[in-house]
Symmetry: C2
DNA sequence: ATATTTGCAAAAGGTTTGCAAGACG
DNA sequence: CGTCTTGCAAACCTTTTGCAAATAT
């Protein structure tokens, strides 16, 4: 993934400001999920003046445009993650080291059937996320908690 | 569901205070999800003095004990719901009228397999929730939004 | 009697808003 | 240039905490 962030932003009709590009670069360099504040801290190394609201506003725009995905941690905070996988999928998140793994399974059809058949409603969105400990963290022990 | 709330609370080693019983009664009388503040407002009709922290603390205890379940709304707030269904299941929630319907489907095995096989991690919990509009709200139109 | 529970007030913590100044296209 | 972005400060709102007084068993 090189310098096509400019194109991606333009595709969303967002101006390709240095800050937005830096955000994408930071997310791209990370294999785990980051909080808005994490991103802000890393960005401040490059930018003298940078407000947290800018980070929030941009994350919202990028998430809305489908460029990044988000994770809802059991601690109720939102974290963001840059997805390279084009297909619809879900995530396994490590509670301890924040690693994200794509899970190429989705019960979309079954869920749709349950709703169309029984409830007769309309599905707007669905959340499917697995929270746990990745292989590495599992070795280290001492991290387990009942989430 | 009659007056066994006393027993339920004792089973969790929680003191059966009038407020805890009232909370369960309120949740039991509702087929939709309620916010802590909703519950607080309803309880204030019966109790002169009642703090919101009490509601939060008790919801936490009841949720921890598995007596009530919770819903994570796309708006990021937590809502609570008294589950009558004993088996493991998930929820369809109506974004508009707050109705909750049980979805007797869970991809537990597939998820476990994905994690055990590919990621080799440990599953601590999983979230599976469908957000949408129930049949009734679907008729009324005008409520749709992209969540 | 004693461990829990509660009220109150205050703090915490993440997220949002308003608006004038600045930057992209 | 016009519109979209940003900084800053302040507000928002849900949730949590500390502690003394009240209550369940």
């Amino acid at each position: 993934m090189g310098q096509d962030f400019y194109q991606i932003l333009r595709g969303l009709r967002l101006k390709a400001t240095p800050k937005r590009i830096a955000m994408l670069e930071i997310l791209d360099a990370e294999r785990g999920y980051l909080s808005p504040e994490d991103i802000w801290k890393r960005m401040r190394k490059q930018f003298g003046r940078l407000g947290l609201p800018t980070v929030y506003r941009n994350l919202e725009g990028l998430y809305g445009g489908g460029v990044i995905s988000r994770v809802i941690h059991p601690n109720r905070q939102l974290y963001y993650y840059l997805c390279r996988n084009e297909e619809h999928h879900h995530h396994f998140i490590c509670i301890s080291c924040r690693r994200v793994e794509d899970v190429n399974f989705c019960a979309e059809k079954e869920l749709q059937d349950a709703v169309t058949g029984g409830i007769k409603g309309k599905v707007l969105s669905h959340i499917l996320q697995i929270n746990g400990l990745c292989f590495t963290c599992l070795q280290k022990e001492g991290t387990a908690r009942a989430y």
